[in-house]
Amino acid sequence: MDKKKLNWIYKKLFTIRFFEERIKKIAKEKTVPGYLHTCIGSEAICVGVMAALNNDDWISSTYRNHGHAIAKDCDLKKITSEIYGRKTGICKGRGGSMHISDFDRGMLGSFGIVAAGPPVVLGAALQEKINNGKKMSVSFFGDGAIHNGAFHEAAGLAQLWNIPMLFVCENNGYAEATATDWHLNTKELSDISKAYDMKSYQGNGNDVFEVYKITNEAIIESKNNEIPIFLEFKNYRFSGQYEGDTQLYQPKEEIEEAKNNDPIKLAIENSINHGLNADKLEEIKNIALNEVNEAFKYAETQPWPDPEDALKEVYVSYPKENI
């Protein structure tokens, strides 16, 4: 792996972790409006998949989207400003934490509805196919989404129409407050793809390099063979469903055990093997922390939107008196 990519991977991992820890802090202080869902434990999946994508490839995300947006190189200050509900937010303050999205970075959307993303990404991938486009299309969703009809309908059509795209399932052990073994009775989650005769691969979602490798290979296979591929990455959701969740359903022993496989811890342990020395690691860490601090400093001082901004951009064109 080239040095530039390696540094990028580490910087993104640290940025997401620092960012989400800061979000947890401000959630406790109740200094931001609205619901907050953090992704501590998902960093390797966000960064590993995005490392295999080009900047303008299509993705969909969910309400747990901070990591995806950061890994997709969205502007960190604007992400933060959006979470604060400010005018300069990445969605002009109209989206909030659950809907962080930048179309210019290939983000089709971060949807608050579970399993809303897969059909939308199918559409983007269909468009690429019809127009002989080169962009890859990737839908991120959690293990909870695999029971939803919208996922299955998209999977069926993608397979039927030979659509190159990736269904990326982050199996983090919990669908909201329900553990995966309470909501799933197949041996493996990715077995669900067998019903469509869809190729699938599993990987350790805590190992950013494994995620990157599997995704990279899947993209090549998907494009070359014009097929959709289902990827399941297993990890652990250290965060609650939302900030403020008591997480009583997550046993303490389970959390302690999961800490042994913390994606950031694994990445740090692996850094020597990839030729990254302790000094360089520390330097990257500091840059990431500094950027996060700057982003929050920026957001805190940004102006609120004008109330009437609420009336803008509902439509491309519509008579003014009718809104």
């Binding site: 089709l108 809303a116 559409g123 491309v316 008579p319």
Partner: protein, 335 residues
């Protein structure tokens, strides 16, 4: 000038749009239909949808742009949203509007909101063509109109043509529009005919039409109700009651000015809508009139709608359910 049915006019608008813009695609269940197995090939393009509206498109434009889908509306409606955002102009067919429930999330939460919610960078130029309407003996789950369900949602536009002329002009405009449009086709109007010029230009969304001018009573008629309004107006003319018939044609945006101007002139209003009455287009239009034209009214606004029941199956019950010219005449005579 060529005489066309609504069905033919819609097919013409589709063909014209396909020819003019290579980004236009069509997805739906059985929109071609009849593609057989390898061993025994059935007749290709056998259906063209259950009402035959899209027949010929598959043969003319091919399987890449005319896509028979699985019976999976959430899947292909969501796909239309993604395809529209990334550069296509998809038209999706919801076989009956009654099936709205299985893909409402894609319209209400995705098509309608991505532009607004994600900061105004996206646009979703998609059209949902769907079949509405009672009077076909099709029962409770294949006969609703549900205009207000979509009109309620900010971000969606709603269009419902009455005749072939408007069907063609409004569909051309809907396909060219950069916002998601719900285009409602009434199954009892498909075979009605009128003159439609071959070179008809798109009719802008948000412009209503005065179908008949008059000074005594304003009848605001929703889609097929124009038929009964015209019948009633003819009868009422015999008693020297001169009705003005307003067809709003599009419900979001709604041509409020056209309605208000007419109300100011007549002071008496009947709103006719074959949908259920609660939170309906009829109640919306009535409320707008009371807000904006209260002092012009000579009498309370009259609403003629279906009752607050599902659409019944049996002919005597269904005929009772649907508003009629007779009901309009009775109300008009009692003003």
């Amino acid at each position: 000038m060529p005489i066309k049915t609504v069905k033919e006019a819609i097919n013409d608008a589709l063909v014209q749009s396909f020819e003019n813009d290579k980004n236009v695609i069509l997805m739906g269940e059985d929109i071609a239909g009849g593609k057989g197995r390898e061993q025994y090939q059935g007749t290709q393009d056998a259906w063209g949808g259950p009402f035959g509206v899209t027949q010929g498109l598959f043969t003319k434009f091919g399987a890449e742009r005319v896509r028979d889908t699985t019976i999976a509306e959430a899947g292909f409606f969501g796909a239309a949203v993604g395809a529209a955002m990334t550069g296509l102009r998809p038209i999706v067919e919801l076989m009956y509007v009654d099936f709205a429930g299985v893909c409402f999330d894609q319209m209400m939460n995705q098509a309608a909101k991505v532009r607004y919610m994600f900061g105004g960078k996206q646009k979703v130029p998609m059209v949902v063509r769907t079949v509405v309407g009672a009077g076909f003996r099709a029962g409770s789950e294949h006969s609703q109109t549900l205009y207000s369900l979509y009109t309620h949602i900010p971000g969606l536009k709603v269009v419902a043509p009455y005749d072939a002329y408007d069907a063609k002009g409004l569909l051309l405009a809907s396909i060219q529009d950069d916002d998601p449009v719900i285009f409602m086709e009434h199954k009892r109007l498909y075979m009605t005919k009128c003159e439609v010029p071959d070179d008809l230009k798109p009719i802008p969304l948000g412009k209503g039409k005065i179908r008949k001018s008059g000074n005594d009573i304003t009848i605001i008629a929703i889609q097929r109700m124009n038929l009964f309004a015209e019948e009633a107006a003819k009868k009422l003319a015999e008693d020297s009651i001169n009705c003005e018939i307003i067809d709003p044609r599009t419900y979001s945006p709604l041509d409020e000015e056209l309605i208000f101007e007419s109300v100011k002139k007549t002071g008496k209003v009947i709103v006719v809508d074959e949908s259920n009455p609660k939170c309906s287009l009829a109640s919306e239009i009535t409320s707008l009139i009371s807000e904006k034209c209260f002092s012009d009214l000579k009498s309370p606004v009259a609403k003629i709608t279906a009752p607050h029941t599902p659409v019944p199956f049996s002919p005597p019950m269904e005929d009772y359910y649907i508003p009629s010219a007779e009901k309009i005449i009775n109300v008009a005579k009692n003003f």
